[in-house]
Point group: C2
Chain length 307, copies 2
C-alpha cells in the first residue's frame, strides 16, 4: 500500500497513474502540485488527487512515491526544489520521453539522493493532454521502460517495476543511452517527419485546398503532427544528436527510393518498398519481432536483457 | 435502375460498389471478371456478383455501367480488350489513384469512345485488399474525385456522379492534372515517406529490437507503409514527377527543422513545428479548411470549382 503518492504535474500522465492506483486500492492519499493552480484544482474536482499542494516540496513531504510529470526541460529545477523533502525510503520517478537529459538533470539536482531516482518512460499517451483526459486504463498493456543507473538503489527499481505493473503495464529495462537511440528511431524521428511533412504541404500555395482531399492515410500518418509543440521542441532538442542521426539514415533511404523512381526502375523501386511493406504488415505493437526480411536473426528476449 | 453492372477486377473497390448498389436496390445484375479465377469465384460465392465471366469483354457486353478496378498500369490493355463490347449508352469508370496516366491510357485504348469514360478516384480503402474485404459502407461519407475530360459526354459525368452519391460518397470534380498534384501531396508522398522511414529503421543493426518499443504513434504513422508494394510501385511511377516535386519540398522543410535543431535554436524550432501542429489539430477529414496559420485566405468552395 502506498500511504502517500506525490504527483508533480497534475496532467494526463500523472493523473492516469493516480487514477489507476486508486482504482486498484493501492494508494491511501494522493497529493498533487501543478505550476498552474487551475490544473491542480481541476485534478481535485475530478477526484484524481486528494490534496492540491502549494509547492512541489509540500506534495513530496512524507510521500513514499513521488511521480514527476513535468516537461523534461524542467527536471533539474523541480527536483532541486523538492530534494530536501524526499524521505529516506521515498521512490522518485519521472515519465519523460528522453532519458539521458533527465538522468543528467537528476544527477545534478539530487546528488547522492540519485539512489532514490528510477527514470521511467511509459509508452502511452492520448491526443488530448491535461488532467481531464486522465484515464485509469492509460497504461494497461502498454510498455514502460525503466533506465536505472549504477547509483540507483535496486530495491527502488524493484518497487518502480511493481508500481507500473500494478497499473497494467509491461516493464522493460534499458540503459538511458539505448533508450534514447531506440526512441529517436521509433518515436522522435516520426514526429519530426510528420511535422516537416504537414508544414511542407501547408506552405504550398494550394496547400489548404489539397488538404481537403486528404483521406484516412493522411489522417493516420499525420496524427502525431498534432502533438504539443513545446513538448516536442524540448524532446527534439534533448535528444538532438540521436534524432539527427536517424534523420540522416532516413534521408539516405529516401534518396535511394527517389533515384529508383527517377530512373523509372520498377524492379529497384519494388525492392525498396517490398521490405518495409512486409515488415510493417508483420509488426504488432508490443510484440517481439520475428526474423524480418533480410534474414536477421530473431532476438525476442533482447529487450529485457538490455540494461 | 442499373440493369447490368460490369465489374472488371472483383476486389475490394469494385466489390464494395456492387454490394452498396445491390443493398440500395439499384442494380439488377452484376457481371464480374477477374484475371484470377479464384477472385471471381469467391465474389460469386459471397454474392458480390451474380455471374463470373470468362473475359472482360463478356462482363461488359450489355452493361449500362462498367467499373474498371484493376491496377492502373493495366488500364490500356483492359480497355482495349473490352472496347468493342461497350454499348452506345454505357458509362465506363475506373477507380485508380492516379489520373493523368489513366486518362492517357483510356484515350489510346478507346479512341472516340473516350466520351463514355469518366475517370474516378474514390478516396477510400482498407488495410486488407480482396473481395473478402468488400463492404457496402466503404464509400459512405468518403470523397470521390471525378476528372471528366473535354471529350467526356456531360450526361455520362452526371450519371457517374449519381452512382457515387447513391453509394454514400461526396463527389468533387477536378482536372486530372490538379488531381495528380493534390494526391502527390496528400497521399503519394506520405506513402513514400512511410516506406522510406520503416526501411530506414529496419535496416539498422538494432532495428528489430528498436521496433519492439514502438508505440501508438509509430503504429499510426507507419500504417500506410503496409500498403501493397506492387500497387504503390505503380502509383509512384505513374505520378513520378509530382511525387518527386513534393519530396523536394518536404526535404527543404525537413532541412530547415534540422538546422534549427543543430543550432539548438529553440525559438526557430518552435516556429517550425507550431504551424503544422496547429494546422493538424484543426484538420478534419473531408472538411474544408478554414484560414490556416500563415494567414492564407479561406477557400472552402474551391474544390468543386476546380474542374
Amino acid at each position: 500500500m502506498i500511504e502517500r503518492l506525490g504527483i508533480i504535474g497534475c496532467g494526463l500522465m500523472g493523473g492516469s497513474v493516480a487514477l489507476a492506483l486508486r482504482r486498484a486500492g493501492l494508494v491511501r492519499h494522493v497529493a498533487g502540485f501543478s505550476r498552474s493552480q487551475a490544473s491542480s484544482r481541476r485534478a481535485l474536482e475530478l477526484g484524481v488527487i486528494d490534496e492540491a499542494c502549494a509547492s512541489a516540496a509540500d506534495a513530496v513531504r512524507g510521500a513514499d512515491i513521488v511521480l514527476l510529470s513535468v516537461p523534461v526541460a524542467s527536471t533539474f529545477e523541480v527536483l532541486a526544489s523538492l530534494r530536501a523533502e524526499l524521505g529516506p525510503e521515498a521512490l522518485c520517478m519521472d515519465v519523460g520521453s528522453t532519458k539521458r537529459d533527465v538522468v543528467a538533470a537528476a544527477r545534478a539536482a539530487l546528488g547522492p539522493d540519485i539512489a532514490a531516482f528510477v527514470p521511467a518512460h511509459p509508452i502511452a499517451g492520448k491526443e488530448r493532454a491535461g488532467v481531464d483526459a486522465a484515464d485509469a486504463d492509460l497504461y494497461r498493456d502498454r510498455r514502460v521502460i525503466l533506465t536505472p543507473l549504477e547509483e540507483t538503489d535496486p530495491e527502488r527499481t524493484r518497487r518502480a517495476r511493481a508500481v507500473w505493473e500494478s497499473v497494467g503495464a509491461v516493464v522493460s529495462d534499458m540503459s538511458p543511452e539505448d533508450h534514447d537511440r531506440a526512441f529517436a528511431a521509433v518515436s522522435h524521428l516520426p514526429h519530426l517527419l510528420a511535422f516537416a511533412y504537414v508544414a511542407s504541404v501547408a506552405r504550398q500555395p494550394q496547400g489548404e485546398r489539397m488538404l481537403q482531399f486528404a483521406g484516412p492515410g493522411f489522417r493516420d500518418f499525420t496524427r502525431i503532427a498534432g502533438g504539443e509543440p513545446a513538448m516536442w521542441r524540448d524532446i527534439l532538442l534533448a535528444n538532438r544528436d540521436e534524432v539527427l542521426a536517424q534523420a540522416a539514415s532516413f534521408r539516405h533511404v529516401l534518396g535511394e527510393i527517389e533515384r529508383a523512381m527517377l530512373a523509372s526502375d520498377a524492379q529497384a523501386l519494388m525492392d525498396q518498398i517490398a521490405q518495409p511493406s512486409a515488415l510493417r504488415s508483420r509488426w504488432e505493437m508490443g510484440a517481439a519481432m520475428g526474423a524480418l526480411a533480410g534474414g536477421a536473426a530473431s532476438r525476442p528476449a533482447a529487450a529485457d536483457e538490455a540494461a
